[in-house]
């Protein structure tokens, strides 16, 4: 009996130390000094395992520090249900504004409705929900795919065989990027889509898929459009191993550091830059304005930019 108490006491102690240690790292800012009242913004992100999302969040933190705003960040781990619960808890904490990076178009919508009902401004960043938020900051995914596919079409002179790698089937980004790509394909009737298949946003899966396609189509392949850089880099690896990279154009989206490096080396022909920093800082800026009751833009669209070897330097940090 005594032993049990001892172990439970010591584990409680251990647990509290652990929790204290963890919380220090996330909200390092000390208590608000001088101003007395500091704005608090709740942030829920799609997934902190995704590099682009982490970049958006880093920009938010930077902007918040500069503006003296306190951020409370939580990770929805790709679960819309979790995200709605997180927003509910923000409402209960009476934050001044909420920034949400939605997991899903429909399933994350209740979060928006609830925040608006509680009269707390909610800003969607990066992707959309079907319910209309206070403001939207982000880019149009359809546009990114148009830019990428257009580059392929022009490089091939409007004629050739193309392969497309999807992200997770059914996700908003996948649907929109497919839509944009198909719009361009329609404009170029001599551009033929040989096959399209999911690589689940994953480099290893993209690589395996490309290896199998090489077996299927071999030298017929003229270009590959991957819906993100990870899969694009997988395709590049498979093509290089098969000695085909010189003959095939690979274009993807996101411009992650590895992608930019590959563009620099010339293995990835182009990627499309989605401006994470702009999205992050504009989101915080809009949230602050909305919380203070100042004028703000209902929809801030940050344009995509095509990155090739020629204009690479301005994207490399």
């Amino acid at each position: 009996m005594k032993r049990i108490q001892l172990t439970s006491l010591s584990s409680l102690f251990f647990l509290s130390v652990l929790l204290a240690a963890c919380s220090q790292s996330s909200t390092s800012e000390k208590s608000a000094d001088g101003e007395g009242k500091k704005l608090v913004v709740g942030v829920t992100m799609l997934s902190m395992q995704n590099e682009f999302i982490v970049n958006v969040h880093d920009a938010m933190v930077k902007k918040a520090e500069a503006d003296g705003v306190e951020l409370i960040t939580v990770d929805a781990e790709r679960s819309a249900l979790k995200q709605v619960e997180q927003v509910e808890s923000f409402i209960a904490q009476k934050v001044d504004a909420i920034i949400m990076n939605p997991c899903e178009v429909e399933a994350s919508s209740p979060a928006v409705t609830k925040a608006l009902a509680a009269k707390i401004p909610i800003i969607n960043v990066n992707s959309e929900t079907s319910a209309k938020p206070t403001a939207f900051v982000g880019s149009d995914d359809v546009e990114s795919a148009r830019i990428a596919m257009k580059y392929i079409a022009e490089k091939l002179g409007g004629k050739g065989n193309v392969l497309m790698m999807h992200g997770y089937m059914g996700q908003a980004a996948q649907i929109k990027r497919e839509q944009g790509a198909r719009e361009i394909l329609k404009q170029y009737p001599n551009l033929k889509l040989l096959a399209h298949q999911t690589g689940e946003w994953d480099r290893a899966k993209g690589m395996s898929l490309m290896e199998n396609w090489i077996q299927s189509y071999g030298s017929q392949i003229n270009a590959v459009f991957a819906q993100n850089d990870e899969m694009g880099l997988g395709a590049v690896k498979a093509l290089t191993d098969a000695g085909l990279k010189d003959k095939v154009i690979v274009v993807s989206i996101d411009a992650i550091p590895d992608g930019l490096q590959a563009v620099k080396k010339g293995t990835l022909d182009a990627t499309v830059f989605q401006n994470a920093e702009e999205q992050g800082s504009k989101a915080v800026e809009t949230a602050v304005k909305a919380a203070k009751g100042q004028a703000y833009g209902k929809e801030t669209l940050i344009p995509f930019q095509l990155v090739t070897k020629e204009n690479l330097t301005k994207f490399l940090k």
Partner: protein
């Protein structure tokens, strides 16, 4: 009178025969699917494509070998996918070009995996918590560690020598295939030719009998989980090398593919039975189907359905070979 001592029921001769047929069920299924694919697409049965299949299968197979050891002892390890991520990230952080010789990232990565596995074994043997729960916990812990160590970002710019181990070729044969063959041999020998291998079957087949025979259960289990962690680490290092980057979200869901390969291969979920050749065939079956469906350009929605049907089918066929008593 001597004849009366002959015991009538199952003296072994008749059933031995039955058993041998059962052993080949999976091989027959695999060959049948290969023949079917060869007839539908000429691109399937080429040396190059077959090498690609084995290459793609190798990482899953290595994980499946590890988990086969564990399942044979009556346990389970759900944390291997996370070990892949942790060891991949750890290895990658020591593998940048012009830093350490290639042996360092390999050594450090393997050590991390062995320690992780040993931790699983420690908790499983020292507490009465079932392995399913223990490794479910360490699965999450591992994923978290990978994210902490990498700060959520992929680690790239790895040295060429590191990228060679999982992505190179020796005399035209991909290194992954060579490594797979070597470790298939090692694992088979461990399981069939060593005392510890025998004890794995004993512990999983009848824990009480093993105990009464003087076998130290906790030692056997420690070895098994550590071994599984080590093989997962190897898989993690090879994956990192193959995709030339250490990714904190790598290996998600790999544990299920590995367990599926082991079970398709005839490893008994209740322990005590299983072979490495079965597991290898199981992994190959999954790989062949996935490759074949890509070649046939089957839509991803249908791919998942087909894969599920074939997994269940293989296990059902496998179960037919068990005598119903």
């Amino acid at each position: 009178m001597e004849k009366d001592f002959t015991l009538i029921k199952g003296d072994g001769y008749g059933v031995l025969h039955m058993r041998n047929i059962g052993k080949y069920v999976l091989l027959i299924v695999l060959v049948a699917i290969c023949i079917a694919l060869s007839m539908t697409t000429p691109r399937f049965f080429t040396i190059q494509n077959l090498m690609i299949i084995v290459t793609q299968v190798s990482i899953n197979a290595l994980l499946a070998f590890g988990v086969t050891f564990v399942i044979i002892t009556g346990g389970i390890d759900l944390s291997i996918g996370s070990i892949v991520a942790v060891t991949g990230v750890v290895a990658a952080s020591f593998a940048h070009a012009d830093t350490y010789p290639v042996i360092v990232p390999i050594g450090v990565g393997l050590l991390a995996g062995l320690l992780f596995g040993a931790f699983n074994g420690f908790v499983v043997t020292r507490t009465k918590v079932p392995p399913f729960i223990v490794t479910l916990g360490t699965m999450t812990i591992g994923r978290g560690l990978a994210l902490i160590l990498s700060k959520g970002r992929p680690i790239s710019n790895l040295s060429d020598s590191f990228n060679f181990i999982g992505g190179g070729k020796v005399l035209g044969v991909p290194t992954l295939i060579i490594i797979l063959v070597v470790f298939f041999g090692i694992c088979t020998v461990i399981l069939k030719k060593t005392v510890i291998g025998r004890y794995m079957y004993a512990v999983g087949g009848n824990e009480q009998a093993a105990k009464a025979s003087g076998i130290q259960l906790s030692k056997v289990k420690m070895v098994v989980y550590t071994l599984c962690g080590g093989l997962a680490a190897l898989a993690g290092i090879l994956l990192t090398s193959r995709i030339t980057t250490g990714q904190p979200n790598a290996g998600a869901g790999f544990e299920l593919d590995a367990i599926a390969a082991a079970i398709i291969g005839g490893t008994s979920t209740s322990g005590g039975a299983g072979t490495m050749i079965g597991t290898l065939l199981g992994a190959l079956l999954i790989g062949v189907i996935s490759n074949g469906l890509d070649l046939l350009n089957v839509t991803s929605y249908y791919q998942q359905v087909v894969m599920g049907v074939i997994i269940i089918g293989a296990v059902v066929l496998n179960s037919l070979k068990q005598p119903s008593n």
